[in-house]
């Protein structure tokens, strides 16, 4: 019974078959039972969760239900919340309590959602496997020796194992879509500017975007609709973004007349044959639903990873300068002088991957290297954006695999950052172009989920949702659940 969608839970609450408190208790029981295995949550305060649930039930009784009344939502440890710690799974923010809620947290609270806790992630969202977390690796519910993907691995694992019906993640280079794919759930990264970044700890400001991680396409629409919208306190949040009829888009059941682009650069040698077969089958399914599959080319795709690993670390090198031991976060013991305080506080507080990216970024921005790295990467970014613009003259949406491989084993790639970086080879270009992208389950490879990625033009989340909803309705993949997580079930 735990593997229910937000939509099903909302209906049950509406019919009075359950209460927010009951739901909170059920999910808290599952967190207690399974989190020691999965390490998906890094913070969960049961008392506080129940208090929110009680308040929600009282609100419903008095005023009726708001958009997400009583629905439990977990959030990645990157979202600032005025209750509980916000640590970005980094030692440098250990014990940090933000004095404010992120804009999206405010939106969730105003919609009546019950926040169940903070989920595990790669430190400062830098990673593709959740292994860089200062709080230990999170595990994939489908195979606990495997990584859940990253950086929003905790959110993906928590939803996949039904420790929460839905969660928020952030996506800078694939950090929602890749773990969603590896954990067999749905993940939606909105268009850059659709969701306010205020109160979300910055990794790479021009790429970061918050989004939904859910069991169904409709849930992703509900959650994204709740958190999106203009925020005057974020200058990069769009004031005039075209609206989406979030839930209506999910009613689509066929693909008549839909032109789906199949970029040849996303079906490459070296990708897992099982994943490739699953995606090929998915496209056949789309054809059966009435879509036309159009072979397209996104010629600059091969430069996306390189450009991303210049731009994102460059921005990060500045964004992470504020963690200096002066005002908040970790400060080393007995600093000898200012320089000692800076260097030791940061050396002790940051993990290896974060340091690697700060150094990479600082190097790329250095006088004498700026033109060759940062500026060149920005030029590549423009070319990638143009690739998509040209492609969308021919097609309505683009379909690709989300990740070239299913979940890999914990420790398998930690010594080889370059191989690790290739985990995001199919998701990064979408961030560089600022486009919306959605990953949904499309098959199983040796007991591990494979994901199908949809890409649409800017502000056309409606197209993603329509295609994904039609596909979901015609296939069983989103209903698959991992074994071994039945404890805590209350029939």
């Amino acid at each position: 019974m735990a593997y229910r969608s937000l939509t099903e839970l909302a209906d049950q609450l509406e019919r009075g078959e359950t209460t927010a408190v009951e739901l909170a208790q059920q999910y808290l029981a599952r967190i207690e039972a399974h989190n020691p295995t999965l390490n998906a949550f890094v913070h969960c305060d049961a008392e506080h969760v129940l208090a929110q649930a009680e308040a929600s039930d009282a609100y419903r009784a008095k005023h009726g239900a708001r958009a997400m009344e009583g629905l439990p939502i977990a959030v990645k440890d990157i979202f600032c919340t005025s209750d509980g710690p916000t640590q970005c799974c980094s030692n440098i923010l250990k014990g940090y309590h933000a004095p404010y809620d992120a804009h999206v947290i405010t939106r969730l609270k105003e919609a009546g959602a019950v926040l169940v806790g903070k989920t595990n992630m790669d430190e400062f969202a830098m990673g593709s496997s959740n292994e860089t977390s200062a709080f230990g690796s999170c595990r994939n519910p489908w195979h606990t020796d495997c990584i859940p993907g990253g950086s929003s691995g905790g959110s993906a694992a928590a939803v996949a194992a039904a420790l929460t019906p839905a969660a928020l993640g952030t996506d800078t280079g694939g950090s929602i879509r890749q773990p969603a794919s590896l954990c067999g759930i749905t993940g939606l990264k909105p268009t850059y500017g659709r969701v306010s970044r205020r109160g979300i700890i910055a990794f790479a400001s021009s790429l970061d975007q918050a989004g939904a991680m859910t069991r169904t396409v409709r849930d992703a629409a509900l959650l994204t609709g709740t958190i999106s919208g203009h925020d005057p306190a974020d200058a990069t949040s769009a004031a005039d973004a075209p609206d989406v009829d979030w839930l209506a888009a999910c009613e689509t059941r066929d693909m008549q007349g839909l032109r789906i682009g199949r970029p040849k650069e996303y079906f490459i040698d070296g990708m897992d044959p099982g994943v490739r077969a699953a995606v090929d089958a998915a496209l056949e399914q789309c054809k059966a639903l009435g879509a036309e599959i159009v072979d397209i080319s996104l010629p600059h795709t091969q430069y996306a990873v390189a450009a991303y690993y210049v731009i994102a670390p460059s921005e990060a090198s500045a964004n992470l300068s504020r963690y200096d031991g002066v005002r908040f976060g970790h400060r080393c013991e007995h600093p000898e002088d200012l320089l000692d305080m800076y260097t030791r506080s940061r050396d002790e507080g940051f993990g290896a991957e974060v340091k690697r990216r700060i150094l990479t970024g600082a190097f790329a921005l250095s006088s004498g290297y700026y033109d060759a790295y940062y500026l060149k990467a920005q030029q590549v970014r423009t070319l990638i954006r143009q690739d998509f613009q040209q492609a969308f003259e021919q097609v309505d949406v683009i379909a690709t695999p989300t990740s070239p491989v299913p979940a890999f084993r914990i420790g398998e790639k930690t010594d080889d950052p370059l191989t690790m970086y290739l985990s995001d080879v199919f998701t990064i270009a979408v961030n560089l172009a600022g486009l919306p992208g959605l990953s949904q389950p499309c098959g199983m490879v040796d007991g591990l989920p494979a994901g199908l990625q949809w890409i649409a033009p800017a502000w056309q989340e409606g197209r993603l949702l329509a295609a994904a909803a039609a596909y979901e309705a015609a296939t069983p993949w989103h209903q698959q659940t991992p074994a071994d997580f039945t404890a805590g079930e209350q029939a």
């Binding site: 205020r198 005057p232 306190a233 200096d324």
Partner: protein, 476 residues
């Protein structure tokens, strides 16, 4: 062979907006440390900047006043460096494309003018303040100033002496206050200057420059530039070489010392600020700001000379600040008969007294209406100019009107010929010898009689009437 000094100036001007450049915190000076801060200007995780539109408008206004190009699309960049009073570890500034470029300012040099090029004006945020003095083993940080909007005004290396540099700075200082884009209070750090100084033989290419930091008064700037120019000249004449470096001027010792060399210079790793979209302003907005441009000091000076017939000197004094000029025009409006008398009394008498009292025109105890009231009494002969000075003293002290002072002290001028004739007769009766001598041709004694009559009336007799009646009565 002579040496030529080459000077370029970078001036940081605090823009007088109510709130900070990127958040809603107050910019008021002098509050308790760290009370005017919020998560944004404290650089807390996840916080984002939102640009203050008023700061943009004021920077554009300044750009228009120096005849510069306003870039309709400019950009913000991050300037990266670590310092405890810089909460984000970077300063939001404009590096690649500033809001304002290519302007100039004409400054007075000798009898003529000289045009000083202004390379650019860019917007940026101020850092907080570190405090080390009087603290053992620790430093304190006040972040009230963190995020306060600044304009950095960068000149071309067009100045050739410390005096020219000062003339430029004074002109600029006057301008920004006229435009009301800054309060320009140097003691509060609202107008700060760095100077780039080099020397060369005339006609040769520019020499290697040193940058002088921490110049916060006109006097120190002049001292610092002269010290630096002499240091460089001596160095070269002794066979040495000037190295590119940043030097800190110690105003107490009157000398500078090296702060960091070119090799130690920061690499600020500038890159476009991803939290702020490019700054776009429309030609219409710029036109509207131009339309609201107040009269500038030069224009005002010229108009005062032409419209009110003022001397160049008085016109200059009365246009030093917008407050002064406005005050003068209020005075003329209230006493329209004699704008020159207005200028005289304001520039010499009122400002002199305020200056002595260390007060500003804004808190003068005598307002324009009140001073006009005094001038009216001179005009209509109620009091003499000489008495009026005493009346003004009393007005300054008490805040009373001229009429009240005249009434209370009985200073009303005596113009009644009957009364004056009687006094003259008394004086003549008391000094028969002098009358005799005068009538025998000692004309000089006329002054003696005037003095005696004035003395008898404690100065209140109308001098013109006294003169006229004396001439008649002494002839009798």
């Amino acid at each position: 062979m002579s040496w030529e000094v080459v000077i370029g100036l970078e001036v940081h001007v605090q823009v007088n907006t109510k709130t900070k450049a990127f958040c809603g915190c107050s910019t008021a000076f002098g509050a308790e440390p760290n009370t005017q801060t919020c998560p944004v200007c404290l650089g807390m995780p996840g916080q984002l900047p939102v640009l203050n539109a008023e700061a943009v408008q004021k920077t554009i206004l300044t750009g228009l006043a120096i005849n510069a190009t306003i870039n309709l699309e400019s950009r913000f960049d991050r300037k990266n460096y670590f310092y405890p009073d810089l909460p984000k570890g970077y300063q939001i500034s404009q590096f690649a494309v500033p809001l304002v470029e290519k302007g100039y300012l004409d400054i007075p040099v000798g009898d003529g003018e000289k045009r000083i090029g202004i390379t650019r004006i860019h917007m940026e945020e101020d850092a907080g303040k570190s405090m080390h003095e009087g603290l053992e083993g620790v430093s304190h940080i006040d972040l009230n100033r963190s995020g306060v909007p600044l304009m950095e005004i960068v000149s071309e290396p067009d100045m050739r002496s410390a005096d020219e540099a000062i003339a430029y700075l004074k002109q600029l200082h006057q301008l920004i206050r006229f435009l009301d884009v800054s309060d320009g209070d140097m003691e509060k750090g609202q107008f700060r200057c760095d100077a780039n100084v080099s020397v060369r033989r005339p006609g040769e290419p520019f020499g290697t420059r040193a940058e002088l930091k921490n110049l916060n008064s006109f006097r120190f700037i002049k001292q610092a530039i002269e010290y630096e120019a002499n240091r460089q000249i001596e160095l070269i004449e002794d066979g040495g070489e000037v190295v590119q470096e940043t030097r800190l001027f110690d105003s107490a010792k009157g000398e500078s010392r090296s702060m960091r060399s070119k090799e130690e210079a920061h690499d600020y790793r500038y890159f476009p600020e991803p939290d702020l979209p490019p700054l776009r302003v429309s030609a219409e907005e710029v036109a509207a700001i131009r339309a609201g441009m107040p009269e500038l000091p030069g224009q005002l000076r010229q108009r005062f000379e032409q419209e009110y017939g003022l001397s160049a000197y008085d016109a200059d004094v009365l246009t030093q600040t917008r407050e002064l000029a406005t005050w003068y025009e209020q005075l003329v409006a209230a006493h329209p008969k004699d704008p020159k008398r207005c200028a005289n009394w304001m520039a010499n008498e009122l400002l002199g007294r305020l200056n002595e009292a260390g007060r500003d025109i804004a808190d003068s105890p005598v307002n324009a209406q009140a001073l006009a009231g005094l001038l009216d009494r001179i005009e209509d002969g109620t009091i003499s100019g000489k008495i009026a000075k005493d009346v003004l003293d009393a007005m300054m002290a008490s805040g009373d009107s001229a009429d009240a002072v005249i009434e209370a002290k009985g200073l009303k001028q005596v113009s009644d010929t009957g009364a004056i004739d009687a006094l003259i007769r008394e004086v003549m009766a008391a000094n028969p010898q002098q009358v005799e001598q005068y009538r025998n041709g000692r004309d000089k004694l006329f002054g003696f009689f005037v003095g005696q009559v004035m003395k008898a009336t404690r100065g209140q007799a109308n001098p013109a009437v006294v003169n006229q009646r004396l001439k008649i009565l002494l002839q009798d």
